[in-house]
Assembly symmetry: C2
Homo-oligomer: 204 residues x 2
DNA sequence: ACCTGAACACCGTTCAAGT
DNA sequence: ACCTGAACACCGTTCAAGT
C-alpha cells in the first residue's frame, strides 16, 4: 500500500500526483494548487511532474477529465438502477446522482466547469464531458418516443431539463439547499417542470 | 480623459486598477490576473495596489461586487421596463437580462460565481449578490398573489425558476446557445416550465 | 494619505545531467 | 524512461523610507 522509500523511480508518479492534487484541491482550493507543493508532499523533485504533465494546465485538465468520467459513471449507474421505472423517476434519479456528486466534490466540480470554458478542449476531456451530459437527453428522447412528453424539438426539451439540473447543482453547491432535503426537493422541482407552474391551462 | 503623467499621486488608482483588472480578466482570464502586471500597465510601483486592495483576493472581491451590482442594475431596469406586462413576460425579460450580461462578460461572471463560493463573503459582496438574485422571487411572489401561479412554498417555486435561469446562463456562457437565438429560445423554455412538459395532466 | 524600492518566500518551466 | 539540481523569469506580500 505504501510505495516504500525509493530514492528513485517512484513507481507511478502520475497517479500519485492526480490523487494528491485532488486532495489538495478539495482541502485548499484551485488557487492554492501548486506543482511544487505536490512534489514536496510526494518526496520528489519539483521538476519531476514535467514528464507526466507537461504543464500545470495539463494536470488540471487531467483532473477535470477523471471528474467528468466519474460524473458519467455515477449517472449511468443511476439510470441503470431505475431501468423499469417511469421516465420521471429516471430523470429524478439522474438529477440526484449529479447533485450527490456535486455536494461530495464541490471544488472538483468547480474545476470541471472552469476547465469546460477553455477554448481548445483536450479530446479526452471533451468526450468525457459529452458522455456525462448524455443521460438526460437520452431519457427525454425515450419519454418522447413513448408519448409521455410533449412533442417538440428534443434538443430544446433537453435544454430545459438540463438547465434545471445544472442550475440545481450550482445552487446546491453554494450550500443553498440542505443536503438532507435533496430527496424531497429534487422530485418536486422535476415534477414542477414536468407539470408546469401556471394555473389553469394544460398546455398549447 | 487621460490622467496625465504624474510621477506621483496617480489620482484614483483604485478605480484604474479595477478597470484595468476587468479588461485583463476578459482578455486573459482569472488565472493570468497579476497585480504586478496591472501596476506595470498603469505605470506605478508593484507595491502601490497595497493601499487600495490589501490582498489580491480583495481586488477579486471588489470585481465580483461591482459585477453583481451591474447584474442587479440590469435586471432592475428590465423589470421596470416590463412593468405593465404579465408575469411570464416579466420573467422572460429578467432572464434575458441575465443572459445578456453573461454573454457580454463571461469571464467576470465566472469570477463572480467563483467568489460566491468563498466561506466568508465580504458584506458588500453579499448584499450585492442578494439584491441581484431578488428579482425573480419577487416577480413569482406577485404572480402567485395574483393567482397566476400554482400555490405552494414561494421559496420552492423560486428555486425552480431560479435554477432554470442559472442553468441557461451556464449553458449560454459555454457557447452552447447561439446569441441570436436567445430571444426565441428563452421565452420558449420559460413557457415550457410554466406550462409543463408532460402530456395530458394539468397538475395535481 | 499615498507611493517607492528593496527584500523575502514563493511560483511554473526549462534543460543539461544523472541513473 | 524517469528523475534531479540549478537556473530563469515571474509572482504576492511586507516594510522601511520617501513626498
Amino acid at each position: 500500500m505504501k510505495p516504500a522509500n525509493h530514492p528513485y523511480h517512484h513507481g507511478n508518479l502520475r497517479q500519485e500526483l492526480l490523487r494528491a492534487a485532488e486532495a489538495a484541491l478539495e482541502a485548499r482550493g484551485v488557487q492554492q494548487l501548486s506543482l511544487r507543493e505536490l512534489s514536496r508532499e510526494l518526496g520528489v523533485s519539483h521538476a519531476s511532474p514535467q514528464r507526466h504533465f507537461a504543464t500545470k494546465q495539463d494536470l488540471i485538465n487531467a483532473l477535470a477529465t477523471v471528474g467528468f468520467q466519474r460524473f458519467d459513471a455515477i449517472a449511468a449507474k443511476a439510470t441503470a438502477a431505475a431501468r423499469g421505472q417511469d421516465f420521471k423517476a429516471r430523470l429524478t434519479k439522474v438529477a440526484l446522482a449529479h447533485l450527490g456528486f456535486a455536494l461530495k466534490h464541490p471544488a472538483l466540480l468547480a474545476l470541471m466547469f472552469e476547465a469546460k470554458r477553455q477554448p481548445a478542449l483536450p479530446p479526452e476531456l471533451l468526450t468525457a464531458l459529452q458522455s456525462a451530459f448524455s443521460h438526460i437527453p437520452r431519457i427525454l428522447k425515450e419519454g418522447q418516443e413513448a408519448g409521455k412528453i410533449v412533442p417538440g424539438d428534443p434538443h430544446r426539451l433537453a435544454l430545459t431539463i438540463g438547465a434545471v439540473v445544472q442550475g440545481l447543482v450550482a445552487i446546491a453547491v453554494d450550500g443553498k439547499i440542505k443536503g438532507d432535503s435533496l430527496k424531497v426537493i429534487v422530485p418536486e422541482v422535476i415534477g414542477q417542470v414536468l407539470n408546469g407552474l401556471s394555473t389553469g391551462k394544460a398546455k398549447a
